[in-house]
Symmetry: C3
């Protein structure tokens, strides 16, 4: 792969608000980056979605996070005419990316951690980008 | 520029709580880092301000995010004597930095994404630091 | 130290919800990474804890952030059987890591900034990992 080429992952959300476990996709495509030691940035190029890291063993955790974030949005009269400011707010809060350790070419997460794509304004066809960051 | 030298951007906030679109400033100063492929870290060295990524096409989105974050601060009797714990809380929540993809020397954001400086305790003269992180 | 070897820091939380200032530990162990210029990723491998950056001069700020985050958790009937979804939610919100500038082998934070370990489901024995990311 040419230097500086990013890898793109497709994610299809099926609900308005949803988290989707993408750990396996990230691990699968990581090898295409050719990174030995350092970090992979999982970057979400959307403004009403994000990425997160949390427990993926019990899918109820992801569902609770999705419902919890929705319930945290304050009841305001937002100005943005498209009406999806609650989704923009959550995306800004969660941040556009997570940066994850890579060791000997493999994702090095904590025992219970997985990577979640977080949809706040679906259902939609979405993308995530992977970029290699060099370690020492 | 000497290796490891960071670039500093000045931002002037004019309100107590405000988001300021700094996408053009980040793009403009990025070239001074001499980075070809990798990521730029936009780092906020303050404890009552932060950076965020979200839609910058409609300025109402930024204003909604600023008002939304303010409304999420719980009504507690905070201990910190300076009285600005609501600003510290939001800065901690949003995080001190965003890490953004750079490809062929250019910022590579999603179509609708821009970079916001988020003021939680203004108006003040503020700074953001840019650091290059090497890709592959 | 072999390339790609991360440094591990131990943190002992003594309360259910608590922030612990780990700035000195991060600075102390940073030299073991052998990084001259770039960034250090402070990574939390747990799913009910996180890391944050904020004012560390007045310990009341950290306590206010801890209490503020707890009060932001919505009163929902969460599904996850272990009953600690409020902790998972906060960990997801705060993110698994902070990426901090390093210049000439030293942590380069803002004047008032320190690094906090954030416990949401303690007391426990916890760990943080440090990884070097190369700058230019």
């Amino acid at each position: 792969m040419p230097a500086g080429q990013q890898v793109e992952i497709q994610v299809r959300s099926t609900e308005k608000e949803q988290v989707v476990d993408v750990t396996n996709e990230v691990e699968h495509h990581l090898s295409r980056l050719g990174l030995d030691n350092g970090a992979v940035m999982v970057y979400c190029p959307h403004t009403t979605a994000s990425v997160a890291v949390n427990e993926s063993a019990d899918p109820d955790v992801g569902a609770d996070i999705s419902r919890g974030l929705a319930a945290m949005v304050p009841k305001l009269s937002f100005r943005h005419a498209e009406g999806n400011s609650p989704a923009h707010l959550r995306a800004a809060l969660m941040g556009p990316s997570v940066v994850l350790p890579v060791k000997e070419g493999k994702l090095k997460l904590g025992t219970w951690q997985g990577v979640y794509f977080c949809e706040f304004d679906g259902p939609r066809e979405r993308h995530l980008w992977l970029f290699a960051l060099q370690g020492l």
